[in-house]
Every structure is written in structure tokens, then in C-alpha cells.
Amino acid sequence: MAKLFNLAWVFMLLAILAVGGGTAVLPEMEHLTVDHFQWITRGEFRDIYSLGQVAPGPNMLMVLLIGQKMAGAMGALVVGLAFFLPDCILTLVANRLWVHFKDSPWRAAVQHGMAPVAIGLMLAGTYAIARLSIFNLTSLLIATTIFVLLLWRHINPALLVLAGGLTYLLLPHVVHLFPH
């Protein structure tokens, strides 16, 4: 019970702090679930993040697996509600009040001011995943190739994610086929 309670308040907190979307909150999520509560290991955090990339819909559905690992289906349900419900309610209320502050000069200030903060947080989220996954030449090659490819033209990200996984899985075997 205490476990479910902790899961609920941690993911509610993360939901409220998720300014700039899911990626922005990844470093804090890693800190809380891996270092502070030691619910999962760093490797498991990376695996769960990757599973979220492979599933359709919002990538951050990965949080369900942290709940599942801790407390089964009930854990997944608690984490899902804690992580998604507060922001849904907030958005619903804001959408209905929007007409009242749409033309307020402070709305523009909040938007202009928070935009670079959100970008900084996304960078930090990207860096957190990079630290977990880029530790040799192959992984560095996968990340930079995809970065350059996407700057060059639009490619379905799902294909790139699968290609990344398969490359890391198969490249060592392919290299071994060619004797030095």
C-alpha cells in the first residue's frame, strides 16, 4: 500500500513538473525512480524507455511499466492515472478559461519565457538518454546517423528506431564475418 502511495505521488509530481512534455521530465524521473527510491536499475530505466519508443501512441506510456514492475497491474493503473489525470484536468480547465487570458500581455510573457526553458529541459532529457545508451562506437554511430538523416529529410521515426535496434543487435555479427 505504501508502495502504491509513493508511486502515485511521485508520478503526480512528475506530471505537474512536465513543462515541455515528457522528455523534459526524464532526468527527474530517472533520479526519483532509480537513485532515490531504487525502484528500478539504470539499465531497466533505459530498457523501459526504449519499449516506450517501440509502442504506438505517446512514448511516455513507458511510465506504466515502472508501475507494473513495482506492483503489477494495480501499479500500472496507479501510475497511469497519476501521470496523466492531473495534466488532463489542468488542460480542460485552462481550455475553458483560455478566452479570459488569451489577450493578456502576461500570457505572451509566460509563453516566450517558458519556451527556452522547455527547450533546455528537452536537451537535458536527451542528454539523460544519451548517457544511458551511448557508450561505444556503434551506439554513437546510430545516434549521429539518425540525427543527420533527419536533418536531411523526413523519415518515419518508427523505421529509424527499429533500424537502430537491429543495427546494434546485428552489427557486431556482421563485422565478425569479415576477418581483419
Partner: protein, 215 residues
Amino acid sequence: MNDASAVAEAGTPAQVPLGTIFWTFLTAGAISFGGGVVAYLREYTVSDAKWLDDEGFLDALEISQTLPGLNAVNMSVIIGDTLRGIPGAIVAVVGLVLPGVVIIMGLGAFWQEQSHNPQIKAFLIGVAAAAVGLLSTVTLQLGHKQFVKPLDLAIITATFVAISILHVPLYIVLVVIGSAAVLLYRPGAKHPQLEERARHLRERLRHRHYISLRH
């Protein structure tokens, strides 16, 4: 009473059935592998169903980005609420996440069973590395205006350093850097010198074609 029915007859669009909303968001949620859910939502709700126009969609996106939470989920709440109130918002969100929930729970069960399988592990490392490439591009695309503006670049750098290097808790970063950033952009604040330099830098960037981002 009479006024309301007169307006309805005069051509307010018929109420969109909840089932249709659910089905539309379910399709978007099922098909959007690898992220980019918002792009699919635009295709379905603006181009196909014509529930809202481009301007309405961008307004909704603006609200979604300003508020905490996932853009795609916030967008679903707004579009669902605009179409059919709270029931509309509920079916939209449930539709959007349902396929992903089912698949991720299945993947999770498989992953826990195979936790010692080195091939699964290797595949997932490759996926995470690929995600780093994807996230870098998305961040650059979202921030292409901010990265070339000195004031914004300073805020970006301060945020990144605080989180990734100094490990400052996120709520402190949001309160301190967030409110400082909003104050810097407070109504009436002028940054003539910065704006001039930013314009200059943008010109140079455009000139050299440093980055050509296509969407």
C-alpha cells in the same frame, strides 16, 4: 429556447458522435509509432474530419505547449472538449492512449520474462541510441528560433547546466529559471540591443545555410 433552435437550424454543425471521436483518436493512437502523434492528430482532425481549422489547431497546440503534460494528450483533451465537452475529452484521451497501453503492457510482460536475454538487451540499447538521434532533431526543430536568440540561448544553457550538470531538482529550476525567464519577457520589457544582435545572427545563419530543417 427559440433562439437556440434557430441558431442550430441556421447551420451550427451537427454534434459529432462520441463514437466517431473515440474511433478517430484510437486510430491516431494506434498508427503513430515512433512519436509524432501531434502530426497524425492534425491530419485526422483538420484535414480529414474538418472538426477545426488550422488556426484552431495551432491555438490548441499553443495551450498544450504552455501547460505541463504531453502535447498529444493535452491536444486530445482540448479537441474532445471543444467538440463534445467533458465526455468528448474523455473518449478522445482514452482512444489516444488505449492502443499504446495494450501494446506496452504486452511488451513489458515479454521483457520481464526475457530480462536475461542479451539479444533483447542489445536491441533495446540500439533503440535508445536511435531515440537520442530523434530527440536531438526534435529539440533542434522545436527550438530553432530560440537557439539563435542570445537571451533564449542563455536561458536554454542555464536550464541544461542546472539539470544535467549541477543536478538541481526540477521544481527549483522551474521556479527560479522559469520565473526569471517570464520576468525577462514581462509586458513592456524591451531588449533592443539583444534583438538587434539576434537579427544579425539570424541573417548570418540564413546566409550560410547552416541548418536546413525540413518538416
